[in-house]
Structure formats: C-alpha cells, structure tokens
Symmetry: C2
C-alpha cells in the first residue's frame, strides 16, 4: 500500500565514496575517480532501484591539506560534473542528474547554457546545485588573491539565480515552429531578450538554447547559514543538508518550510534531503563492525587532526588506544563539537584512535544497522517531518551501494514509502515539483 | 594498398547541417538541434566509417541578424558542446570529439578541467578548438559593453593556452599509486603547483584532475589572421581552415607549415583540415541539381543580404531571375568577393536568385560530384599539399552523411588514402600526433 508521504532518495557520491578510507576497503575500486565504466554501473544500479537522483560532490581546487593527508586522499581528483553527468545521461533513462555550479566563479550565461543543454540531452533530468563556493583555495584558481566575502557571495548568488532562470525563459515553449512549407523556423515574438543590468551582473541574452524540458532544471541548495536558508526558502526546490540527528533535522525542516510560508511559497515545493551515511549488516552488530573496520583504514596521522578540530583541542598527545580523557578543557569555539565527541565516545565506547578515524572518515548523520532497523529510522524521519527523504552516502563501493539497492530499497517499497516504478520521466515528476511558468510568456 | 600520405577526416557539423536551408530538405530532421538520438546516430555512423573526429560548431550568443533572417534560421539554438560531446563519448568508442572553448569568455581552470575530464571519460578522444570569439554579441552576454579588441584577445589566448596546458601537467602520469597496504594514494612529489601570475591571468593550480589520457587533448585552431596563423604554428595540432580553392589551400598550408619550421616544430605534427561541403550524386549533373534544389530552400529575402555583402553592393534591386548584371561597380572593400561572385555566376550559369541562395546557404569550398570525382579532388589536395584531409560539411542530414560514409569513404579506402580500421584508440593516434611530454615531470 502506498502511503501519502513518500521518501525521495538521492545518491550523494564521490566515485570511490565520500569516506576517506573507502578506497582501501576490500572489493573497492580505487581507480573509480577516472574509470567511467564503474560510475556508469553505479548510476544504472541506482536507476534500477528507482532513485530520484544521482549527485556527484565537487570542488574547484585540490583542497589545501597537509602533505600527510594529501598523499592518502582519494578525493583530490575526479571527473568534472557536467562532462560526467552528460555522459551518464546517455546511458540512463530516468534517474535525475544533479551538478554543482558556482555562482562566484562562473558566468551565468555558461551556467544557464550547460544546465539547459543537460536537461535537453537527458530529456528533463537536470538539477543545479547552486553553491557560492566557500573553499578559499578556489579563489586562487580564478584570478583572485583573496576569497570573496560571504555576504558579497550571497548577493551575487541571488542575482545570478535571477539571470540564469531569466535566460532559461528566453524562448516560449512553443517558439519553434519548424514549418517546412513556409520556411518559418521560429517565432521571433516568442523570443525574449533579457537585457539584465544589475549591480553584479550584466547579461543581454537571449540564451542560445530552447527552454529546458523541465522549464527550469530543478534548483538545489545546500547552504545552512542564515542567508543560505533564506535563499533556499526563496528559490530552492531541493535542500541538501546535514543535520546531526532527528532533532536537528526537524528544526531545520520547520525553519526552512516556515520561511517559505512566510513569503507565500507552498512548502511542498521544496524537498529537504539530509545526507545519510548508510551501513547495512545482517545484524546491527555486524553493521557496526563493518563501520569500525572501514574507519580503521583511515590513517591515524591525518585522522587525529580531524579529531583535534572537532574537540577544539590538540588530541595528538592522547593515548590512541585508551578512552578519551575526561578532563578536556572546554573552549568557546567548539562547545557543540566537544559535546558531540564526548557523547559519541560514550555511546559507542570508542578509543581515541577510533574516534579520530571516525572524524577523519565520515562523521555526519549515519544509519548503521539492518535493512529493517534503517527503514524504521527513515520512516520516523519522514513521519516526524525531519526530512522528505535522504541523500544516501555509501560507505564503500560497490558493496555499500548494492546493499542499499538490493536490501534497503525493497524494504522501503514493502512499507509503501518508496516507489516501485518511476511516476514520470522528468526529475520534477519524480520529486513532485511543478514545472515553472515562463516569466515572459504565458502557456 | 596503403599510401604513405593518408587523409584525415573530421565532420564539421550543426545538428541540422551548416546549410541554412537544410532543415527544409526532404528527409531532414528539423528538430535535431535538441534531439540527442539523431546526433548520436550521426556520430555512430561516422565512427563506423572510421572518421577521425566529430566537431560541433558553436557560438556564445544568438547571432544578431534581421528578424526576417532570424525567424528562418535553424542555427540559432542547439546543445552546448561539452554536454553534447560528453554524452556522445558514452555511446561511441573511437571517434575523436572536438569542442570549442573561448579564451576570451571563459576561465582557464574551467576549460582545463572540462577537457581533461572529457579526455578521461572518452579514454583519450578530446580535442580543444581554441577560439578567441570574434562575435561581438557574445561580449554582451558576459558583462562587457564592447567587444574585446583583436590584439588583446590574441594576447590573452596565448597566455590562456600556457595556463591550460600547464594545468594539464599538474600530475605526473604515474602520480597515482593507490597502494592499499600502505594507504598511499598519490605521490605528492609528482604533483606540480603551477602558480601562474601573468599579465592577463593568475591561476594557482594544481588542476584537480589527473593528467589527461592523451597527455593533452589535441589542440585545434581556426584563426586565419596573421596572429591566428602564428598562434597555430606555435601551438596547434589541427587547423580548421576555409580556403576557397586548391591554390588557396596550398598557400595556407605552405605558410603555416613554414612558420612551424621557422620555430623548429615538425610540420607533420600539425594537420591542415579545410572545411569541405560534399554533395554526392550518381552523376556530377545530379549532384549539382541536388545542390541547386537545396539552395532553393533558402529564403530570398535573407539570401539577398548575403549576396550584397559578398558583392560589396546592394543586390536587392537586381532582377532575381536574370543573370547577374555586368556593370556592378568595383569597391575597395570587396574586390576579392566581387570577383568570386562573378566567377561563380559564369561557371555555373546562375541567376541572381541562385547566387543569393548560394551565399545565403553555404558558399565555402565544395566538392560536388560522384564518389569517384570527389575522391579524385581529395586525392589531388592530399598529393599537392593543399591539406592533410578535410572537415566534411554535410549539405543535409541524414542523407548527406550517409552518402559520404557509404559511398565516398569506401572509394577513398579502395585508393589506400583512408583507413579501413582505426590504428589506435586515441584521437592523437588516429591523427598521428605525438603525446606531449609533461613539462614538469620526465617519464
């Protein structure tokens, strides 16, 4: 029986996994960063399991890190998202394809064009994850000596969004007549020249691409700062977020959907999808053991730095194989972080080494258990409005993905909270989002 | 028997054809601009015929034209090249994929990344057509009120090329060790930080992509101005050019290969590939009739403007169905153009209408005849060093492409001047180009 509230599932990926130790896990594909065949097989499996969307994480720089961490990092280099997702569009038929594009380091004409093109190639499956790029190393790759300030980035992002969506509306849906006899290919009355001249951007238009199949590709955002939440409430249709737990999820859900209501937007027209690290075992105990085994592949030297940051205190002098000392001084900078580390150490009875490897590996929201226990948790998030679904993070590949698609998804389907078949052909249809009207032309 | 000099064949395309009347031709696909299935079938047929490369023409704006021309133009909108070629990479295995990227309106980090990614996805088949974007309408889409001046564009292009190729060399070919036991993923000694600070560009690096499969994607250029030729001689590996005839081809060939010798580059490491419009019939007469029939689909109102430009004289008062008047005054601006029009009118005995439709349709180098007569012409260009091959322009699709792949290519193969099988897997191997050494690391 199908329930009225339905889970939406995205896959939030790096080719080898987001977990820093995953490339060393038994059965992993350490070369997946540049092995298209592997990524193609992941996307096709996710489509067979009726996932809403595939999303590849991205950066605009090799992240600045100490050489000891750098040399162990499989996340340094990989495919660029537009090229990757376009290639995947050609070998899949239904799954949504979400790419990140930066409003700080790219041009709206390019961004509008690439997403519109991906939307046409994929027949309506593109989504734009709008980011303002917080990584200061990226600025150095784009001609700037210092990073663009936060408020300035958000101001430009808002205007950038207006320009891109305006460019997508350059042509009415029925602008292209293609009448052989008369020789009329398009109706110039149905072409709009944007002529945008704003504080940050000046773009004439029109876009040299027909209106996207979805009207506009789906708008995704991830910022959780106050301006980020406001921008999401005004413009986003999907929010990628990372609450620590159900309470955090519910607070963020209520905040963003409340902001939508305050400005007159229908809260159903935005889906909150927290990232969730999913580790599946035959028993909860086995799943936990798998996770500890995966964490143990994170090198201690790089892991301890992550723990020190989380604690707000240098942890390198602690005994790695003893429990966390009880007398760690509190600092203002990391009150929440410190409390979380202490809570985690107690709950899972972890040594300093295991804690460090957890923070160095993947420390966000996690569901670790059996298909049934994880489905219980997901159902609770859905019922209590902690989220509208999840962006699943696979601990290791391909096994972690196979576990989700062949064991967890059938359990969710049995409960009537996840589809057995795609309802339509476009990502908007999967997500239950309306097709935006053209602001310059009525239908 | 295979001859020592071999033709290289690229396809220079727009989805419906470069000819402005082609969408009205019987059997054409007027919707091909946004129909990926059609373009996929074209690329797969070209690959089956062992073409070296597929190249899609591109612009960064809807070209500014009178509304009467605009409404009849099928070339106004189409897929963006990176998204299109990446999708094609996933459904082909051998054919090269050439995309245009502008050094004036894009960032070197983005350009380096996308080509490197396309090269990895396609397993070594990417080519970068370096353009400085001469269309002034593009500037208005990228925040500028006026177009960037020619000399300034070429100065930036040269530096842009240095930065992009430097970024491609960010990692030694053997930088990625991926040793599970030790946990060492990459050797930081084999990563180079570019730290480029030039007059036009400032880019730190490294690129967050492993070195491309081809070392560098193949470098293509099309500029025929003096700085364009010099840039090509210094940096290009393929030149897309448009000589009017064999004499023009030979002159350009000798000039660019001479410039290469003058700076110590091996002239074999650059392939001259003129655009050639190929119309095939059972007889030369039939091919000419096909071409006239195609030209007749160009609307006279927009065609006459093209003829006026070519003549340097307003042709709209001429009798459309009479021969070209004999007393057209000569102007300094269009001495060559005027002579060419008069020559063409005499040679093919064309009316003013037919001349106008030729100039409004496609007026570059054309081979119109039987498979045998066209193979004769191509062989002569090859033997006399007019070119190293051609970028074939199809008059109409799909028929014009099928004629080339199923009738002309077998004739060229019989003569031993075109391959029966791909010699290797990468575009560099198809073209006989060396793999560039990494400037920062020895092999």
């Amino acid at each position: 029986m199908t329930r009225s509230r339905q889970l939406r599932l995205g896959a939030f990926m790096r080719p080898v996994s987001l977990h820093t130790g995953a490339w060393r896990y038994p059965g992993s594909y350490p070369d997946a960063n540049f092995n298209f065949a592997h990524i193609k097989s992941f996307a096709q499996k996710l489509e067979a399991a009726k996932f809403d969307a595939f999303f590849m994480a991205d950066h605009l720089a090799v992240l600045n890190m100490p050489v000891e961490a750098l040399k162990r990092s499989h996340t340094v280099t990989s495919f660029e998202p537009f090229t990757l997702l376009s290639a995947l569009a050609a070998v899949t038929e239904r799954i949504g394809l979400a790419a990140t594009a930066s409003t700080t380091f790219d041009e709206p004409y390019h961004v509008a064009r690439r997403f519109a093109s991906l939307d046409h190639i994929s027949n309506g499956r593109a989504a734009w994850n709008i980011v303002t790029t917080s990584n200061p190393d990226a600025a150095l790759n784009f001609g700037l000596d210092e990073h663009v300030e936060h408020g300035e980035r958000y101001k430009r992002a808002r205007e950038f969004y207006d320009v891109v969506t305006g460019l997508w509306d350059s042509f009415a849906d029925d602008a292209f007549i293609r009448h052989r006899e008369s020789g009329i290919y398009l109706d110039p009355e149905k072409m709009h020249i944007l002529n945008h001249k704003g504080e940050e951007l000046s773009v004439r238009g029109p876009l040299n691409i027909a209106r996207p199949v979805q009207g506009w590709p789906v708008i995704v955002q991830a910022g959780q700062s106050d301006p980020g939440r406001q921008l999401a409430a005004e413009t986003a249709e999907v929010v990628f977020c990372s609450p620590r737990d159900l309470d955090g999820g519910k607070a963020l859900y209520a905040d963003i959907k409340g902001r939508m209501q305050a400005i007159g937007r229908n809260p159903d027209h935005l889906k909150m999808l927290p990232a969730a690290f999913v580790v599946i075992g035959d028993s909860i105990e086995e799943a936990r053991t798998k996770r500890l085994s995966l964490d143990s592949l994170v090198h201690y030297d790089s892991a301890i730095a992550s723990l020190s940051i989380a604690l707000g205190h240098d942890a390198s002098a602690f005994d790695p194989d003893a429990p966390l000392p009880k007398d760690i001084p509190e600092t203002n900078a990391s009150k929440t972080g410190r409390a979380q580390v202490i809570k985690l150490a107690q709950e899972e009875n972890l040594t300093v080494r295991q804690l460090a490897q957890r923070y160095g590996g993947y420390s966000g929201l996690a569901f670790v258990g059996t298909p049934k226990s994880i489905a219980d948790e997901m159902e609770r998030w859905l019922d209590e409005e902690g989220s509208d679904g999840f962006n699943v993070v696979f601990p290791y590949l391909p096994q972690g993905l196979d576990d989700v698609t062949t064991r967890l998804v059938p359990e969710l389907q049995r409960r009537g909270i996840f589809r057995n078949e795609y309802e339509g052909t476009t990502l908007r249809e999967h997500l239950g989002l309306p097709r935006p009207k053209n602001r310059f032309f009525s239908d």
